[in-house]
């Protein structure tokens, strides 16, 4: 079997003739940048073949001499040396750690999904000779009335441990849909069980350590990105490769979560054994892939997933390395395209407790909108694509040190980065500012096309693009740019979100103006400029005090569930209460979408403040 060696990493892998270089790289765990899921469209997977013969070659159009598309180039009979140019290697695998407000010393509070209680049990005697397990459950019921289940593993050494603890034992219990599960019985350890809350985004994954005095959020790109930028291309991959597709994607996301947990534990000096629970949020497809559930029917009419309401599972069943007796909880989803992330978001923002209707817009790759109050909850999804999360764009990045997070004009365009570090790319809030500023400065027209000859606009390979920061200022030594294709993706993303919200509101006989608050959620930066979000028509033109930027509510919701089991029930209640609107079959959606694919919107009267500012 031919051996393919990837340079400069120097990693080799055996590959059958006929395997694409991209698949070989995936097998070798060598990340190759790729935004289209290996369909030969994005041309980001360019490699150079240094030695050996290959079969096929990505369509020559626009490829430089000696360059091949890894997804379209096949291993032939000979061994190969394949060099990955710098831009092809630009898959960020690095974990970013960010400090947050630390939790109190007595965290997590009583009532968490997993907690340890110290119990005094009466020692058995001839008058009170119930079994050890009944004795334990009897005592636990006095502490908290519930059904208790003692798994065999705990039962086995229960007698020894209770006696070893001299009937004064720490009992660690988890909340389960049917009651409680006893995870551990032993001598008092005076250590609370720690947890990790996880948000699996299509583009980025975030995890927060829930432990005393911990104040860390770790994030990284979802490595599944190498199989395509959105949930659809990943589902297609599962379908195309029935045997390995789904397990491969599952393994990638589990590895990502492993790396995040490792970074969190390392930062806080905590042992894996001390982590007793993962509480996981994310869209329906991401949760499917995390659990290894075959997701293919999510994509086919009538769009049905395997499971939305999931029971807790054992860590080893998922493959995550925390305390083996711990639990993995997944938040409930509503439908195939309205996932646990939106359930978590509704929980975190209290949307369902409000007196007056408000909206929650989750600007993720799989965008979702929920509208409601204490009386009703409705939701829909709108595929926004990864543009605002920095995916699929020439200089896109997630919100991390060095990401351009705000842009404004002082005659010339100015920008600042997260942490004031040299720019590595542009994150979501930076893109919002950049589009708004370019339109305002008339460097771009309202369809998003660059004006030839405007300052900063240059022509490369027959295409206009805007150079925000030249290579000599940038951290990566390459220009930080905005291309016409980037703009199109951003405009489509914001158009889809706005159109979805409009159609959903119309279905309710309401208007944006009827909403008390419009909450924008997402992990695309901390410095949302509301005026700019309205200027590009991402958000409606309502009084700015009604707009609230609420951050990553998916992760916040997961944290809330972890630390208070009451929220676990509430999340299930929310998921059950929410009415899902299918937009793909809605007759007006396409029309609304086209009219929203303009800056700010084709119906200018809907954006009076923007028109007034431009006059």
């Amino acid at each position: 079997m031919p051996v393919v060696t990837f340079l400069p990493a120097g990693v080799s892998v055996e590959a059958d003739p006929g395997t694409s270089l991209l698949d070989a790289a995936r097998q070798a765990n060598v990340p190759i940048r790729n935004d289209c899921g290996g369909q030969g469209i994005c041309t980001r997977c360019q490699v150079e073949v240094k030695r050996g013969e290959v079969a096929g070659r990505g369509s020559g159009g626009g490829l430089a001499e000696g360059r091949f598309l890894a997804c379209r180039t096949l291993v032939a009979e000979s061994d190969l040396e394949v060099y990955l140019p710098e831009e092809t290697r630009e898959v960020e695998t690095e974990v970013t750690l960010r400090r947050t407000d630390p939790f109190p010393a007595d965290y997590p509070p009583p009532g968490a999904m997993v907690e340890t209680v110290e119990l005094d049990l009466p020692a058995p005697n001839l008058d009170d000779n119930v079994s050890d397990s009944e004795r334990l459950v009897r005592r636990l019921r006095k502490w908290r009335d519930a059904e208790y289940h003692i798994p065999l593993g705990v039962l086995k050494d229960l007698p020894v441990r209770l006696r070893d603890a001299q009937w004064r034992a720490d009992v660690t219990v988890s909340v389960e849909p049917w009651g409680s599960r006893i995870l551990r019985v032993g001598r008092p350890a005076r250590k609370k069980p720690y947890m990790v809350a996880v948000d699996i985004g299509t583009t980025a994954i975030k995890a927060q350590l829930l432990a005393p005095e911990a104040g860390w959020v770790a994030s990284c790109y979802n490595s599944q990105v190498m199989f395509g930028p959105d949930v659809i291309s990943r589902i297609i991959h599962c379908q195309r490769d029935e045997e390995h597709g789904c397990p491969a994607l599952k393994q990638l996301v589990v590895q990502d979560i492993e790396r995040l947990i490792a970074a969190l534990l390392d930062a806080q000096g905590v042992e894996r054994e001390d982590v007793w629970a993962l509480v996981v949020s994310g869209n329906t497809t991401m949760i499917h892939l995390f659990l290894g559930l075959y997701p293919v029917w999510i994509r086919r009419e009538p769009y049905v997933g395997c499971a939305y309401l999931l029971a807790p599972v054992r860590p080893e069943d998922v493959g995550v390395n925390i305390n083996p007796a711990g639990r993995v909880f997944c938040l409930p989803a509503v439908s195939s395209y309205v996932g646990a992330d939106i359930t978590a978001g509704v929980l975190a923002t209290g949307l369902g407790d409000r007196k007056r209707p408000s909206a929650l817009i989750d600007l993720g790759t799989n965008g979702e909108i929920a509208i409601g109050c204490e009386e009703f909850l409705v939701c829909c999804s709108a595929s926004a694509g990864p543009a605002f999360e920095g995916g699929g764009s020439a200089s896109g990045t997630r919100a991390r040190p060095g990401a351009v997070e705000s842009v404004w004009s002082e005659g010339t365009l100015r920008w600042r980065t997260v942490g004031d570090e040299p720019p590595v790319g542009i994150c979501g809030t930076g893109y919002i500012d950049l589009l708004a500023t370019l339109v305002r400065e008339r460097i771009m027209d309202k369809t998003g096309r660059f004006v030839a000859g405007a300052p900063g606009v240059v022509q490369r390979d027959d295409e206009f693009l805007y150079v925000l920061a030249p290579a000599e200022q940038a951290a990566g030594g390459r220009d930080i740019i905005l291309t016409q294709a980037d703009v199109e993706n951003l405009v489509r993303a914001k158009g889809a979100i706005y159109a979805a919200g409009s159609v959903l509101l119309e279905s309710l006989g309401m208007d944006w103006g009827d909403l008390e608050t419009i909450m924008l959620a997402g992990g695309f930066g901390d410095r949302l400029n509301k005026d700019n979000a309205v200027t590009i028509g991402l958000l409606p033109d309502v009084p700015r005090e009604r707009i609230a930027f609420v951050g990553n509510t998916s992760l916040q919701g997961a944290v809330m569930v972890a630390q208070d089991a009451a929220n676990y029930w509430k999340a299930r209640d929310i998921a059950g209460k929410m009415t899902y609107f299918e937009l793909s079959t809605h007759p007006d959606f396409m029309d609304r979408f086209v009219s929203a694919c303009f800056l700010p919107h084709t119906d200018t009267e809907k954006f009076p403040s923007v028109s007034a500012a431009q006059e």
Binding site: R442, D445, K446, T447, R449, V451, D591, V594, S595, C597, F598, T602, D603, T604
Partner: protein, 325 residues
């Protein structure tokens, strides 16, 4: 029992746009043509004002007419190749305007230079007193090359120039502004795209009152239904007060008829369809009348016979002003 008044009162009106300038107005046209101004849907005479009947332009071109279908070609055979003669004929045939098609500038059709095109414009203006529509080539690069010269050549004549498109509007908009012409905004069968283009034109300084919109054109039996509903929906929006949809509509019918087999297939091939010399003009006229019913105000035809038929039909159909007025 009195009959209740069920007529709708609409808040908007279609813009009135005048094409052409007489000597007093700084041009050399013997008359001008005004279209638009309606306050209700077409033909609903009991509901609104219809100050101007639809206007008809006949297409002329310096390009070869080999690709014209036979029934249209036979009328122009004598004058094809002589723009001035052809232009003079148009008035005789009953046209309200002349539409000079610049297809000859396209590299595939002879590649006439910008100067030659500008000269064509001048010669047509000299040969006829009718207001002039000048239609570009559908190729952005060629249009951007020739149209500025042509607008300049027609400065003062208040012509109608087209077409501006979403991807290519700046050059033509700037030339029309500089030389005071009206402009055709072309957006393929979509109200939103059309409105977006009007906003873009407005942003570069074009007055919304100076725009005529072209939703693109399909002949009867060849996509007319799509354009018909687009015009209709746009009209509903405009009459309801949307200033971005209050522009009159032009359709360029003549060049579409040749695509329709039923209209031009010769008798020996399709005897069941009857005489082609009846069929072809009727098809063009029927398409034109259909578009007027949708709301179009300016119709560009090729076949003079079709023009006469359509005009005759519309004289009977077009609402007369109320007696009391």
């Amino acid at each position: 029992m009195p009959v209740p008044d069920v007529s709708e009162r609409l808040s908007g009106a279609i813009n009135e746009v005048t094409i052409g300038a007489t000597e007093e107005q700084g041009g050399s046209r013997t008359r001008t043509v005004t279209i638009g101004g309606e306050t209700s849907f077409p033909m609903l005479s009991f509901e609104g004002r219809y100050p101007h009947p639809p206007a008809f332009a006949l297409q002329i071109t310096a390009a070869d007419v080999d690709d014209w279908h036979a029934e249209a070609k036979k009328h122009v055979a004598d004058v094809a190749g002589d723009l001035e003669k052809w232009a003079g004929k148009c008035e005789e045939w009953g046209a309200d305007l002349i539409c000079l098609d610049l297809a000859a500038a396209h590299p595939d059709s002879g590649g006439r230079s910008p100067e030659q095109c500008a000269d064509d414009v001048k010669r047509v203006l000299g040969a006829s007193g009718l207001p002039l529509v000048v239609w570009g080539t559908d190729t952005d690069e060629v249009d951007n090359n020739i149209l500025p010269k042509c607008t300049q050549a027609a400065a003062g004549e208040n012509c109608l120039f087209g077409t501006a498109k979403e991807l290519n509007y700046r050059t033509l908009a700037a030339s029309c502004l500089a030389d005071s012409h009206k402009i055709i905004a072309e957006a393929p069968s979509d109200i939103n795209l059309s409105k977006q283009l009007h906003i873009l034109l407005k942003d570069v300084g074009v007055n919304l009152q100076d725009i005529i919109m072209h939703p693109t054109t399909g002949a009867l039996g060849f996509g007319m239904v799509y354009i018909y509903t687009t015009i209709e929906r746009g009209r509903i929006a405009g009459l309801s007060g949307d200033t971005l949809m209050q522009q009159p509509v032009v359709v360029n019918i003549g060049k579409e008829i040749g695509r329709v087999k039923e209209a031009v297939s010769p008798e020996e091939e399709s005897p069941q369809w009857g005489k082609v010399q009846v069929r072809a003009p009727l098809w063009e006229a029927a398409t034109a009348v259909g578009y007027v019913e949708a709301g179009a105000e300016l119709l560009v035809l090729r076949n003079p016979e079709a023009l006469q038929q359509a005009k005759t039909a519309l004289e009977a159909l077009w609402p007369k002003p109320p007696e009391s007025a």
